[in-house]
Amino acid sequence: MHSDTPHILREFDLAFEMLRKEVISMAGQARLNLERAMEGLLSRDIERCKAVVADDDEVDDAELRIDRIGMETLVRFHPVASDLRQVITSMKVASNLERVSDHAVNIAKRARKMLSRPECPEITFIEPLYALADQQMRDALSAYTDRNSELGASLQLRDKELDKMHKRLIATFTARLEEGGERAEDFLHLIFVARSLERIGDLAVNIGEDAVFLDSAKDIRHEKPAKPDETA
């Protein structure tokens, strides 16, 4: 049960609006960092990679701000029910977004190393994995901002697809790596990039679970996701 009725205390609504805006802004920045890191890698643009590393501090600062606002809100207003879930999940989503941005930095750093070397055609193999991880992240954030528990819960199952794709890619890159030669280092970097994208998928699942908790007060963490025919 969520209520849009204004609170008696105007400060309460202002604090919650500030919290909401901070999370949305942080989500935008974390996604931008991921996008720039991948574009830097795929289009061999070192400036984008540098920007990701430089801008990670902004995401770290946003996490600290969200935690501070959340703590202040808990202390000042003692929120209950969906208001309490809003504060708790905002802080948890911020923590997940900070880790997304860390993975974007990892990708950017790997990209910088690869860009100093001759072009690696197999780099495009990573694109479908990125597309899926990015879609997961977008849906997770939509589920959270729209309080859409159905969409949030769907991420668990869809993550299995991402995991399979990741596994296949790792097998491919590992085989190439084992062939040795000058390009072995590139495949090692690509394995780490794929690993970061897989982890971003996991973080999207976490955010989706937070969206479910926010919307319906159900804690679906560590539950086995229902197969599509079971949910029908």
Binding site: M1, H2, S3, T5, P6, H7, I8, L9, F12, F77, H78, P79, V80, A81, S82, D83, L84, S216, A217
Partner: protein
């Protein structure tokens, strides 16, 4: 229980197989022409703490006072429909002796109100009224009641001191001891901490939690956090209707009704 009643059915009929301490069935209550309770139905399980919350004038105190017929003292006040069953008897029935009822259903009020007599006499008052004269029995009752009220260690060396010399929190706990001295099954508390500072409030809340083992407690409170801390179940009242009744955890974590959500979160009241 009527089907159209807004209360959560699961909570109105606790799963415990034990007979509820209090069963309220479709109760209407009026002060003269003014109806203040409308078709209220709920079961209060034995040895649980149930909190009544809601804005002023919603009927929560009126319902509490129905449980020991305190409303009898108000001219024109009456249960006009339904029944309130305690120990198998409809206590709304005028044939029930309210004095005998109040031996089973004790009450603690908003403002602590010890008699201007000794600590000992305050606790011994009820048993003496019921005819107990043996000092050894009275001594035992006084000690047991004060121990249960978590006050014994603080007053055992000054039982003859005047009760009104105690701190506010101690006086309220003394009133709780006085209520327990006649060995009731149910204790009603009408905003028992509203006149107390936070430390005294914590002592009384701690006491309420420990008393649950021996008594069924119904507490009216305007303090939401107090309801979350001390009660097993919470009933939310609005304009004479019981809007929601469920476990306290459910009510404060994920209420079923928007009006409950708006009230507990401070959006109206």
């Amino acid at each position: 229980m009527t089907q159209e009643h807004p209360a959560t059915p699961a909570a109105a009929s606790p799963t415990s197989s034990a007979v509820p301490a209090i069963q309220v069935k479709g109760v209407d209550f009026s002060y003269g022409d003014k109806q203040v309770l409308k078709d209220v139905t709920l079961d209060i399980p034995t040895n649980e703490v149930v909190a009544f919350i809601g804005p002023s004038g919603c009927g929560k105190t009126t319902l509490l006072r129905c449980f020991n017929r305190m409303n009898d003292l108000v001219p024109g006040a009456a249960v006009t429909k339904g029944s309130i069953i305690i120990e198998g008897a409809n206590i709304a029935d005028k044939a029930i002796d309210p004095v005998e009822l109040r031996r089973h259903v004790g009450m603690v009020f908003q403002k602590y109100n010890p008699f201007p007599r000794s600590i000992y006499d305050n606790v011994a008052y009820g048993p003496r009224t019921l005819g107990e004269r043996k000092k050894s029995v009275l001594d035992e009752v006084v000690e047991k009641s004060l121990r249960r009220a978590a006050l014994w260690d603080e007053v055992k060396d000054r039982l003859d001191d005047i009760a009104t010399g105690l701190s506010g929190g101690q006086q309220q706990r003394l009133c709780i001891a006085r209520t327990m001295a006649v060995d009731p099954e149910i204790i009603l508390m009408d905003e028992p901490c509203s006149a107390l500072d936070p430390i005294a409030t914590a002592h009384v809340e701690d006491l309420i939690l420990s008393l649950r083992e021996h008594y069924t407690i119904v507490i009216v409170t305007h303090n939401m956090q107090q309801a979350t801390r001390v009660s097993d179940r919470t009933a939310f009242f609005y304009l004479g209707e019981m809007v929601e009744y469920d476990t306290t955890r459910k009510v404060f974590e994920n209420p079923s009704h928007k009006r409950t959500m708006d009230y507990i979160s401070g959006r109206f009241g």
